[in-house]
């Protein structure tokens, strides 16, 4: 209850702030932008960071003169980790607040829930979190990593390193299921025999594979059985684990993994849902040498990234938005992809010369670029981004060290059935 009321207070504060801001700036000089993330419920842990980085980006742009001479006026709403509520809130943003663009969603199910709303109103949504692909709405722009910008490069890296057996494990919902199915096809196309892909297969009545890998429910906490299966799988050597477990189930998974005596030198785990932010609650010493693959790492050594990190920390100390945690903050890929999204939108608006979502989407499709903290990103015709992919290995201090960089990887959402 307390949480609810703090959110209420927060929305009130933002509302009052917005009114004050619009009075002082005059309504004409601002453009309304929606922020649609879960600020309460299970996903709040991850999504609040995106709200924070978005507010930071708006302030940064406003301080430099805004977009087309107008200040950005954020309208923040709370999806509350409740998927139907996401659709309601999106409707509210589009109809009542009349926002020009929305930045939001984390889980695929929340995106699927708001998709019809954006298509109905022909508006524009930027989606920032790695996802399973197989989707290209005319009204969504995916700054997220597509499967070929995360899972496929990671598997390529493992194949290059000489691993021959792959165990697939994930949480039971759309992202891991789809990704693993694509990976299953991909591994087969690379000559990995089916018996070397662990975790089990489910086939339909015609014998086509409909699910590959082992799945656990959300919040699963007992991984003994699965780890014993992995140890057996890895007994003959050259094995690795592809982990699409989401959320805090990763903690018992890695604790059990370490307790069983498996080490990253013998059987590395590559995880797609663990970024610097999630890493903070994991026992990092047990995780040394496991792998991650993202299009941004906090440890990237570039002037743009250094500036981004420093500016964000400064903004955190100065901001007076209630409910923002100020200490121990890290930056991670979904945050940077949100940041990139805002700047790409800005560039597209300036190219189109208007805030009209349809024309902005046209401008995005014609290709605009932004030099972000993770390298240059360019928008593509298929609503995805061309960007740099990094493979990193985990260090004992909760950071990743980049071990491989792949420049200009073109985002490709439709992969199912393309590997023969």
């Amino acid at each position: 209850m307390k949480k609810r009321s703090s959110i209420l207070r927060y929305t009130l504060a933002v509302g009052v702030g917005a009114v004050l801001a619009s009075q002082s700036l005059q309504a004409k000089e601002s453009v309304k932008v929606g922020v649609l993330h879960s600020l309460s419920g299970t996903m709040a842990i991850s999504e609040t960071s995106l709200r924070d980085v978005l507010l930071f980006t708006f302030d940064e742009i406003n301080a430099n003169g805004g977009v087309l001479g107008k200040k950005i006026e954020p309208i923040v709403v709370d999806g509350a980790s409740d998927w139907p509520l996401f659709a309601e809130k999106a409707e509210q943003l589009l109809v009542k607040d009349n926002v020009s663009v929305t930045f939001g969603c984390w889980t695929s199910v929340s995106r699927k829930s708001v998709l019809p709303v954006y298509e109905k109103h022909n508006s524009l949504l930027f989606y920032p979190v790695q996802y399973e692909g197989e989707e290209m709405s005319p009204n969504i722009f995916y700054t997220a990593e597509a499967v070929n910008q995360q899972a496929i490069p990671a598997v390529d890296f493992l194949l290059e390193e000489g691993y021959k057996k792959f165990y697939l494990i994930g949480t039971d919902y759309v992202y891991p299921q789809t990704t693993n199915l694509v990976l299953f096809e991909y591994l087969k196309s690379k000559g990995i025999p089916v018996q070397n892909i662990g975790g089990g297969l489910r086939k339909d009545s015609k014998g086509a594979v409909i699910s590959a890998g082992n799945y656990t429910p959300f919040g699963h906490s007992d991984f003994q059985q699965i780890i014993s299966e992995i140890s057996k799988f890895a007994a003959s050597g050259d094995a690795c684990v592809i982990n699409t477990i989401n959320g805090d189930s990763n903690v018992p998974f890695f604790k059990e993994f370490a307790a069983s005596g498996l080490k990253s030198e013998d059987c590395p785990v590559v995880s797609f849902s663990i970024s610097e932010d999630e890493f903070r609650s994991l026992p990092s010493k047990d995780l040394v040498g496991h792998l991650g693959c993202w299009t941004y790492f906090m440890s990237i050594d570039s002037p743009t990234n250094k500036k981004f990190k420093a500016d964000f920390q400064t903004w955190l100390t100065k901001t007076n938005v209630p409910g923002i945690v100020k200490e121990g903050r890290v930056t991670c890929s979904p945050m940077v992809l949100s940041y990139n999204g805002v700047y790409l939108w800005k560039a597209a608006v300036e190219k189109a010369g208007t805030f009209d979502p349809v024309k902005v989407m046209e401008a995005l499709k014609s290709g605009v670029s932004f030099d972000g903290p993770g390298g240059t990103v360019t928008s593509q015709k298929n609503h995805h981004l061309t960007k740099t992919v990094y493979i990193g290995e985990t260090l004992e201090n909760g950071q990743f060290e980049v071990v491989e960089t792949l420049k200009d990887v073109v985002g490709e959402p439709f992969l199912k059935g393309t590997f023969k």
Partner: protein, 546 residues
């Protein structure tokens, strides 16, 4: 370039092997090893690195393994201005790696880490060192690794080593490793012999290789009958053994899942089962226990450091603290709220639910919404190899502790004066109090004891799972379920039902997968309660209001 490098590396390893084989023991040359390690860590060029790695393989001093282990986890730092390499040797104390003397480090030191490739090579060197480790377990594990790699150059040396092993078990491990390698590299007769040996000793790691040989042998033009039949019987024997191990493993895992359930529900069995209080904040007491461990861990880390003896025992220190903190919280809850609600169970449900939410939010405000990380001390990490079934130490500790809790609780309740008072009060509050039992104090202490048990459960869960503000939510439903299935009011029932649920859960998982397994267990419980609404041991009572 790459290939020749690799070849050289392998050749040197082989050389090391032969030297070890011929001379038996290489004179430990620690000073030289330290020099090379320092040179390796401070070097910046790849070619130099490769040379130093080769030097290391020729040295073979035990210090190499220690330094490699520290290097991996960021306990090695390098100062450019002083050209010195430091290794963390205790809490905020540093040793000069070259001399081994404790010194105060230079200000510009930075943590140094080996690259991925280098780490793999180093891990190989450590494996070689382990071949002559005094720790027999390590020796066997290392020999198995070399066998599994199936590189022909290792066979001869493994043979020489095998001849020198005094311990029959270790010698057998070496023979298995040799056989593993011969599967790939041996002549036809050697392969048949290896297949037979590996089958007879149930080496699971060889299963895939034998299956492959079988496939190749039976698909070719001329079928090698003897090879095929020996492969087949080896596979049958390995699989048979594996089935047995699976059963033993499932029993162990069921026992440990049961112990988790038992620990989280035992406190509730007292507060709900015995006292009749529906305490929805039970889950938050578990979280409180988890956070107590986290705080103790941080305190010890801050004041004593990670390599201190204190850190090794922080968990033991944390247990009574976790119990004390949650017992105190339980005490406050009973005095402040529950004592007014003994006759109004519905209100106590709502009130404790509110308490649960207040506690959750308080934890979230104080510790942050993200989970916190708790790591295990050395003696609780790793696992014990029970004839092929891996039993992790923290799970073993959990099972032992669960048994301990059951015994202590039942002794307390049946053998002490307090226990007599508790049982009297729980049966009939008014009657007990009119007979002179200080029932309000007994109520408070019993509730505190039940809450304290929840705290202990949280402490153990911190070793195997998450510690976060909403961790209690994960366990509250399970705990009520266990208590109801066991029969409300019966402690033994709770113990038996948690064990049963744990075993069924782990038994179904390999067959149905975690998702369907969980669903089946819940479905089974619904069915069970349909036929036995009172649980395994229904409470019998003569009072009219039951």
């Amino acid at each position: 370039m790459m290939i020749t490098n690799k070849f050289n590396f392998m050749k040197t390893l082989y050389l090391l092997f032969s030297i070890l084989g011929m001379m038996g023991v290489v004179k430990a040359d620690e000073t030289k090893a330290r020099e090379v390690l320092v040179a390796l860590i401070s070097s910046s060029s790849k070619s130099e690195e490769a040379r130093y790695v080769e030097d290391l393989t020729e040295l073979g001093d035990p210090i190499i393994a220690n330094v490699v282990a520290s290097w991996r986890v960021g306990e090695i730092s390098y100062s450019k201005s002083q050209d010195k390499v430091y290794i963390v040797s205790g809490f905020e104390t540093y040793e000069d790696l070259l001399t081994g003397a404790v010194i105060s480090p230079a200000g510009d030191r930075a943590i140094d880490r080996p690259s991925r490739k280098l780490r793999k090579k180093l891990s190989r060197i450590v494996d070689f060192l382990d071949l002559k480790s005094p720790d027999l377990e390590k020796r066997m594990a290392a020999s198995r690794k070399f066998g599994s790699s199936q590189k022909p150059e290792f066979i001869e040396v493994l043979r020489e080593f095998e001849a020198k092993q005094d311990d029959p078990e270790v010698a057998a491990a070496f023979r298995e490793s040799i056989a593993m390698s011969l599967l790939e590299n041996g002549t036809r007769d050697e392969r048949i012999q290896s297949v037979k040996l590996l089958g007879d000793t149930y080496v699971f790691a060889a299963r895939d290789n034998i299956a492959k040989i079988l496939k190749d042998a039976s698909s070719g033009e001329t079928v090698d009958e003897e090879l095929v039949s020996s492969c087949k019987s080896a596979l049958i024997s390995i699989d048979g053994r594996q089935d047995l191990l699976d059963i033993v493993g499932t029993l162990f895992r069921g026992l440990s899942t049961g112990s988790v359930l038992l620990l989280v529900s035992y406190g509730l069995a007292i507060t709900f089962g015995q006292m009749g209080v529906i305490n929805m904040a039970h889950g938050e007491f578990i979280a409180l226990g988890g956070y107590s461990v986290y705080l103790v861990q941080n305190y010890v880390l801050k004041h004593f450091g990670e390599s201190s003896v204190m850190y090794e025992w922080y968990f033991v220190i944390a247990l009574p603290i976790a119990f004390g903190v949650t017992a105190l919280a339980g005490c406050l809850l009973e005095k402040g709220l529950i004592q007014f609600l003994y006759k109004r169970p519905l209100e106590s449900l709502l009130a404790t639910w509110a308490v649960s939410m207040i506690m959750q939010q308080a934890l979230r405000l104080y510790f942050g919404a993200a989970n916190v990380s708790v790591s295990s001390p050395e003696w609780l990490s790793g696992s014990y190899d029970f004839g092929g079934v891996m039993m992790s130490y923290n799970r073993i500790a959990l099972i032992v502790f669960a048994i301990f809790v059951v015994i202590v609780t039942s002794l307390l309740l049946s053998k002490t004066n307090w226990g007599l008072h508790v049982r009297a009060t729980m049966q009939n509050r008014q009657m007990a109090s009119s007979l002179g039992v200080p029932s309000s104090r007994v109520n408070m202490l019993t509730f505190a004891f039940g809450s304290g048990l929840a705290g202990l459960a949280g402490a153990f869960i911190a070793q195997i799972g998450n510690v976060g503000p909403s961790m209690g939510q994960t366990y509250i439903v399970d705990s009520f379920m266990v208590v109801v299935v066991g029969g409300v009011g019966n402690l033994m029932g709770t113990a038996i039902s948690s064990l049963g649920i744990g075993l069924v859960d782990q038994g179904l998982q390999p067959l149905l997968g975690p998702v369907m397994g969980k669903i089946s267990v819940l479905f089974g419980i619904i069915l069970f309660l349909q036929f036995r609404p009172g649980g395994i041991f229904p409470a019998r009572s003569r009072s009219l209001d039951d």
